[in-house]
């Protein structure tokens, strides 16, 4: 207890409020805490700074300072890549992207009609954004999907409204990747719900069929399914009935994704407390009413983050159609550097393709972790 005068003021003048030492607050303290906590941490920090600076300097000089952005092209359309070859790897040859970007994005689609696949890509992106917003999570969203997917079909094929007809063999690039991923998703998701319900069913025959389907598909690589689609499918069908290659690959992807999504959905069904099932039965609801109104809305909500993660994996896996020669984004990129003039510039093309894939996947992954944080808010103390 300090001495206090009769009028309440302390006898000893209160000390000036002292500032904390510079090493305890602000950026210095932060650096001490997080970068130089002990000699081990300091060594790691210094080593990493050295490596990152070294890498960054060499990357910048390769990708920007020494890079060649344009090369002359002869009137016959043959590029003169001597400027690029002269670099001998010290600089990037971005000219391959300047020259080939339309081909990489849209494949062999007729050049003057490129606005159509461009609009298709934008429509897809718009569809993703709308589907991601929670205020649009209503049954009407399914109608929007049907409408937009039909519109996309009309734009790609054409043949009406003055748009010339473009056969499916000439489609390519980014639209194919988006079509495979989106249509795959649109069909695999309902399939996966049915299979997941079947796997939890009390009917032994249905359960056995679903278990067999899921385990068989998950036990083999996607490539083997794609091979099956490309070489075995034609044997399965009666004579005269021919399904084109893209559709066959699409079916393989749907079957593949359906099995993986079914496991995610099943996890949600299992995580739901038994009381929900029992309460719904006590109300006298039939199986489908119980499932549609009580179980699925809650179970699907529980698994949205892992579902989005599965979608990401599945979006990346569409690139595997390269192996059976379907012209998606990756195949278009790989084909662009087959031309003798551009041979050996794979690294530049793959970096560009990587950026495109990364944009889509990174957006989805950020979205998924955002949702997860939001759904878990009630759990945090």
């Amino acid at each position: 207890m300090s001495e206090i005068a009769a009028d309440g003021t302390p006898l000893v003048a209160p000390p000036e409020p002292r500032r904390a030492p510079i090493t305890m607050i602000g950026p210095v303290a932060w650096a001490r805490e997080n970068l130089f906590a002990n000699w081990w941490s300091t060594a790691i920090t210094l080593a990493m700074i050295y490596l990152i600076v070294k890498f960054a300097v060499s990357f910048v000089s390769w990708a920007f300072l020494n890079a060649v952005w344009v090369v002359p092209v002869s009137p016959q359309g043959i590029a003169n890549t001597e400027a690029c070859r002269a670099l001998k790897g010290v600089g990037a040859c971005w000219a391959v992207i300047t020259e080939k970007h339309r081909f990489i994005l849209f494949g062999t689609y007729p050049y003057e009609q490129h606005w159509r696949p461009l609009i298709v890509c934008l429509l897809f992106i718009g569809l993703y954004i709308v589907s991601a917003m929670r205020r649009f999570w209503r049954w009407e969203l399914a109608l929007v999907w049907i409408g937009v997917l039909t519109l996309i079909g009309v734009l790609m094929w054409g043949g009406i409204l003055g748009m010339p007809y473009v056969p499916q063999e000439r489609w390519g690039g980014l639209p194919i990747t988006l079509i495979l991923a989106t249509f795959g998703l649109a069909f695999a998701f309902p399939l996966s719900i049915l299979v997941a319900l079947g796997r939890r069913s009390r009917l032994p025959a249905i359960k056995a069929l679903c278990v067999l389907y899921v385990e068989l598909i998950r036990g083999v690589p996607l490539i083997s399914l794609l091979f099956m689609a490309s070489v075995m499918f034609p044997l399965f069908l009666p004579e005269g009935l021919n399904i084109d290659k893209l559709l066959r690959a699409q079916i393989a992807i749907i079957l593949f994704a359906g099995a993986y999504l079914a496991e995610v959905v099943r996890a949600g069904l299992q995580a739901l407390p038994r009381g929900q099932y029992e309460a719904a039965e006590a109300l006298g609801l039939s199986y489908w009413k119980k499932t549609g109104f009580i179980i699925l809305p809650q179970a699907l909500r529980l698994v949205i983050p892992p579902l989005v993660n599965t979608f990401i994996g599945f979006f990346k896996d569409t690139s595997l159609v390269l192996i059976i020669g379907i012209f998606d984004l990756l195949t278009a990129g790989k084909t662009a550097i087959i031309e003798p003039a551009w041979q050996g510039f794979g690294v530049e093309v793959y970096i560009t393709l990587g950026l495109i894939y990364f944009c889509f996947c990174f957006a989805m992954s950020k979205y998924s972790s955002g949702l997860e944080a939001e759904f878990n808010r009630h759990r945090r103390r």
């Binding site: 091979f227 070489v231 192996i323 793959y350």
Partner: protein, 400 residues
């Protein structure tokens, strides 16, 4: 409520009810539904089967497994067992299976090590290390594996030729012909030493079990490492020395336009291994991180309050609990490496998919070719998941 004296009325079952042939009987409905579904599936498969039979006949495609014993005539660059193109298709496919297993096993080991390091690094208190690991994981997981494989492969192909090869350490060369590593000339003594190593590991395992059992009885902790060191390192060294300690290094050398000697890692294998390892390590890092985070802070504090040193806390308290969370998703990552190794076909590494694909192109027997691929992967997948389930059951929480 005690379990011993349950009300006998609760144990009584409902009296059996006769099945009524009526739509209002649930059991009857269920049987009808199942019969309908199974009939539909069988009809579909029957239809596909009859189409296939017809198509095979019309196109004069042979069926059966006779082709397996015919001469393959397909060259394979890398083989773990003796092989040349005059051998049978069966032998070629076997080489493919071994190549798949080779890349999968090495990939699993490397990805686990790298992934664990990255997962721990993401939780490091060093900001820079944590951010670096986080950025790595994010980038690697958001790019298709096939793209990464093609990237590494074209990067390796863009390297200078053998004459200008990178030579970071004596005996290690990196060029567009792949990676060359120094090796030793393998002799019988080395095989014996390897066998002694395996024996040492087995002996150590049993020694550890016995030590644990003794500890359970008298509470004394017995150090295991001196024995382990002697058995795992000492025994092979002793065997090697007893057999004359042969040691002839086999260092790769540039002769003319290519290298001679040493251990040869082909660009295809190297690109595939690099891609698989770096990709899967990103996923494993996330699993390890989640596993460590799943052990609550209270467990650390309680263990420290008991006076356990930090290393023991990690070994005895945290890791066993984290493992329960880590093992199941880790299993699926191991399966993924194995299945993803099938992408080898895109960069020309001859795994089972690549060889079966060539086989089905040469013989035209698509069904058999694809059946072989699926059978091989199903077998591998089932074995890995059986093993991991067994291990998981061993470490799972024993609840009442």
């Amino acid at each position: 409520m005690s379990g011993a004296s349950t009300d006998p009325r609760l144990l009584r079952k409902a009296p059996p009810r006769p099945l009524r042939i009526s739509w209002s009987d649930e059991r009857f409905r269920n049987i009808v539904y199942q019969v309908l579904v199974v009939a539909a599936v069988l009809t579909l498969f029957g239809w596909l089967w009859s189409n296939t039979r017809y198509n095979l006949e019309v196109r004069r495609i042979a069926t059966g497994w006779g082709f397996l014993s015919r001469e393959a005539g397909l060259p394979i660059g890398e083989h773990l067992i003796d092989y040349d193109p005059s051998m049978s298709y069966f032998r070629a496919l076997l080489v493919g299976v071994l190549n798949t297993l080779k890349v999968a096993i090495i990939g699993i080991v490397l990805a686990t090590v790298l992934g664990t390091l990255l997962g721990v690094a993401r939780l490091s208190r060093n900001w820079m290390l944590a951010k670096f690991a986080g950025a790595y994981v994010e980038i690697v997981r958001d790019l298709p594996l096939l793209l990464q494989l093609l990237f590494w492969y074209s990067l390796l192909q863009g390297l200078p030729g053998p004459r200008q090869a990178f030579n970071p350490v004596t005996g290690v060369f990196l060029s567009n012909r792949g990676l060359k590593l120094p090796y030793i000339q393998w002799e019988a003594a080395h095989s014996w030493a390897l066998l002694a190593f395996v024996v040492g590991v087995v002996i150590t395992y049993f020694y550890r079990r016995a030590a644990r059992a003794k500890q359970m009885r008298d509470g004394q902790i017995r150090p295991i490492w001196p024995f382990a060191l002697a058995a795992i390192l000492g025994l092979p060294l002793l065997v090697w020395a007893a057999l004359g300690a042969p040691f002839t290094p086999d260092v790769p050398e540039l002769r003319g336009f290519n290298f001679r000697g040493g251990l040869d890692v082909s660009p295809e294998f190297f690109a595939l291994l690099l891609g698989l390892t770096l990709y899967t390590a990103g996923f494993i890092a996330e699993i390890v991180r989640a596993g460590i985070l799943a052990v609550s802070q209270g467990q650390w504090e309680a263990a420290q309050a008991l006076g356990l040193p930090r290393g023991r806390v990690m070994n005895l308290i945290v890791l066993p609990q984290a493992m329960r969370v880590i093992i199941p998703p880790m299993t699926s990552q191991f399966l993924n490496i194995t299945k993803n190794s099938s992408l080898a076909v895109a960069i020309g590494y001859q795994d089972i998919v690549s060889i079966a694909n060539t086989t089905l192109n040469q013989t035209g027997q698509a069904i058999e070719g694809i059946a072989i691929i699926m059978l091989v992967y199903l077998t591998i997948s089932l074995s890995i998941s059986l093993f991991m389930n067994w291990y998981n059951k061993r470490i799972a929480l024993v609840e009442r």
